[in-house]
Symmetry: C2
Subunit: 210 residues, 2 copies
């Protein structure tokens, strides 16, 4: 019974975060496609679903949930998996998710969008984004030294939030080999039962019509 | 008894968010200064307090809390003010806080840092940041049409998170007059008992030594 429906498209690491949570918890779901490259998230119809104009959006039990962090938190509650065991852990998960939204996913995903998907070449903007992304990656790499996961000695939704984009292979001009602890952590997540790479769970969005 | 201690400096809207929460709840606190413009947040000593290299950091009851969203959530619990009344509100507060960290505060604060504090002039980067900030401001302005506050019919920590930077007056090249609902919401917050403008609660950080 796929009573979870998710607006998602393959190129979005934020959608992948949620798809991965659903996969690792063995939760059936149905995909609602998003024609991102032809501007669907900017249409009035899509904004009526999510005024923020973003995917993913989860529909479940009459609820319409957006922001991958909110959806991960909701699915942790619903499935009893990968959530916090106590108030300290809950705050620590939130701390890393906020850092992810502010500095880790945000700069890296935007860099990868411009360099790897739009392929619009190097510019002062890509240089700026790459510098910011490198700072954030260094902080996470240092934090992961001697740890298996970000918050606890087990996978939590904080890991799924930050790891989303590091599984994509499009060009960014930022070499992940400089961050060995991030690579080891990524491999640890990829070894979890049920893990699949991005485009095996959510197909590519249709290309932009000329 | 000021048993709340907060690493903060005046120019930081993220620090102001927390200082405003403390002011509006009448909570005494003690400031721990941050010599931001001379690189204190990049020192090993500061990173030992917050590995993310950011202010604000709240010290209370043996806890060391960073990320303004985590601190606001903690203070809402501690004071019983401006938090969620139910699970739907809790998720909606989190949704706006994540949007704030990803797109609202983040782009606008970085723009204001470059244009208004560093005063390094216009560039492709400021143009990029201003475009992104305008999109985020338009979404918040539209959401506030016909509403007094972002999530509920009362002030919540979501409002304090998003409003932080709109109280600052440094130049950004983004005219807030284009967002009348944001201006009305800002005025509503400024009318709350205990409200003070940024630099009246937290003094400027020392200027960079030449």
């Amino acid at each position: 019974m796929a009573d979870y429906k998710l607006y998602a498209f393959g190129e979005s690491g934020n959608c992948y975060k949620v798809a991965l949570m659903l996969a690792l918890t063995g939760t059936p779901w149905q995909r609602l496609p998003v024609d991102f490259f032809n501007g669907e998230t900017r249409t009035d119809d899509f904004r009526a679903v999510n005024e923020m104009g973003e995917a993913p959006v989860l529909l479940h039990d009459g609820k319409v949930l957006s922001q991958s962090g909110v959806i991960l938190d909701y699915l942790a509650e619903q499935t009893g998996r990968f959530g916090a065991d106590n108030a300290d852990e809950r705050r620590e998960i939130l701390r890393w998710m906020l850092f992810d939204n502010h500095k880790f996913t945000s700069y890296y995903a935007t860099l990868r969008f411009i360099v790897g998907l739009q392929k619009s070449g190097e510019s002062p903007v890509t240089e700026f984004l790459r510098g910011r992304a490198k700072s954030a990656f260094a902080i996470v790499d240092k934090h992961l030294a001697g740890r298996d996961f970000l918050v606890a000695d087990r996978l939590t939704i904080a890991d799924l939030s930050l790891a989303g984009y590091v599984f994509f292979e499009e060009e960014t001009g930022l070499a992940l080999s400089a961050y060995p602890n991030i690579l080891a952590w990524r491999a640890r997540i990829a070894a979890m039962p049920g893990w699949k790479p991005p485009y095996e769970m959510v197909p590519h969005a249709p290309p932009a019509r000329v």
